[in-house]
């Protein structure tokens, strides 16, 4: 069954209220919410090479309609994120249906249909002064001494324009209050950004959370190799706790510590509660 028929079936069997996929508009493949009352639009449903975080959109929909049943196109990275969002109670697995899309390179499609699988190019200056996007975290540790690694990371961090794009685009950044907006940690309204604290705060938070989708690195206007940093942090988590974020829906070592976690996630219907409180 092709994609469109599969989605049509989900609507006919009344399994979903909305389906998140992609649709072409003015030559751009953009995310779109397909609904039952506009079934004719389904003809235009497509898969896109550019990746948008459909699951983050799902959390926004759930904030407004806590019982909404959502279907979505899901690649490997989307599935890992969904698992993590279930673990952290940002989405209810009973309300999500996925149509899984293969992402793996194969002899037929060297990079399949996902931008993530295209290796990033690292320029010559970045190679000598900064960090190669495609460096292997282990050899990176072996190749350079502490001092050299520190100066390379500082070269990268110092480029930061404090756009908060890495946090905004990240599907697993769902805290009620973000530490990066905490005035005592990161001074608001000033540039340059506090380095390396800004990046290290985010790096520690991604321990046990980052599912390595690469969206942050894609969104970083300054080409800071954020994934390498978060991979390194998660290597520690996997060594100590044998836990890989998004691999399953088991509780994470960071959610079982107690009722109260350090990074308090927002409740699933946060927006609705807020709107009630302010009478909107």
């Amino acid at each position: 069954m092709n994609l469109i028929d599969q989605v049509e079936q989900l609507f006919i069997q009344d399994k979903i209220d909305i389906f998140l996929g992609y649709k072409a508009l003015d030559g751009h493949l953009l995310p779109h919410g397909f609904t039952r009352d506009r079934m004719e639009e389904l003809k235009a449903l497509q898969v896109s090479e550019g990746r948008y975080s459909l699951e983050k959109i799902a959390t926004h929909l759930t904030e407004k309609h806590p019982d909404i049943r959502i279907g979505m196109i899901a690649r490997e990275c989307n599935l890992r994120t969904l698992n993590l969002l279930y673990t952290w109670k940002q989405l209810n697995p009973e309300n999500i249906e996925t149509i899984n899309i293969s992402c793996c390179p194969s002899p037929l499609k060297p990079h399949s249909d996902c931008s993530y699988l295209e290796p990033k190019q690292t320029g010559a200056y970045k190679k000598t002064h900064g960090i190669d996007f495609n460096a292997d975290p282990d050899t990176f540790l072996d190749d350079f001494n502490n001092k050299n690694r520190f100066s390379r990371w500082m070269y990268e961090f110092n480029k930061c324009i404090k756009c908060y794009g890495c946090r905004n685009i990240c599907p697993v950044c769902f805290c009620d209050e973000c530490s990066l907006e905490h005035a005592s940690l990161v001074e608001p309204g000033t540039l340059p950004v506090d380095v390396p604290i800004f990046h290290l705060i985010r790096a520690t938070h991604m321990a046990g959370r980052c599912i390595d989708c690469g969206l942050c690195e894609d969104a970083c206007p300054m080409d800071i190799p954020l994934r390498l940093l978060y991979r390194q942090v998660n290597a520690i988590v996997s060594d100590i706790f044998d836990y890989r974020p998004g691999n399953g829906t088991d509780q994470s070592p960071f959610t079982i510590i107690g009722e109260k976690t350090v990074l308090e996630p927002k409740p699933m219907d946060a927006q609705l509660e807020g709107e009630k409180e302010y009478g909107l």
Binding site: P31, H32, R51, I68, N168, I169, P221
Partner: protein
Amino acid sequence: MDCKFVPAVCSYCGTGCGVLFEVIDGKINATLPMKSHPVNHGKLCIKGWNLHEYINSYMRLKTPLIKEDGRFQKATWDEAIGHAAVKFNQIKDQFGPDAIGVLVSAKITNEENYLAQKFTRAVIGTNNVDHCARL
């Protein structure tokens, strides 16, 4: 319930990054960078990321205001443009066209900037026209 994504161009500066408004139930809920846009390739600065904040701000002006008796009063566009035209003419008659200057912006299009300088030179009659990109 409705969820759509509307492409637009960031209105904050002349770079013109492509943004995507996440519209849920008719209200702009978030701003995303447009991945396939030739200008910004899926990246934005902090202003672009927060476009929805000013669009939804309760402080946003939704009608023109005219100051009367020291207080701003709501007005229609015709009233506001008429009022500005009368005042410009008064200033021009009393002090001459060089008493008026026009500052244009990188936030508007090339064509709008062209129109603004045409208006300044041909209608008002002064060369006092400048652009924020020169500041």
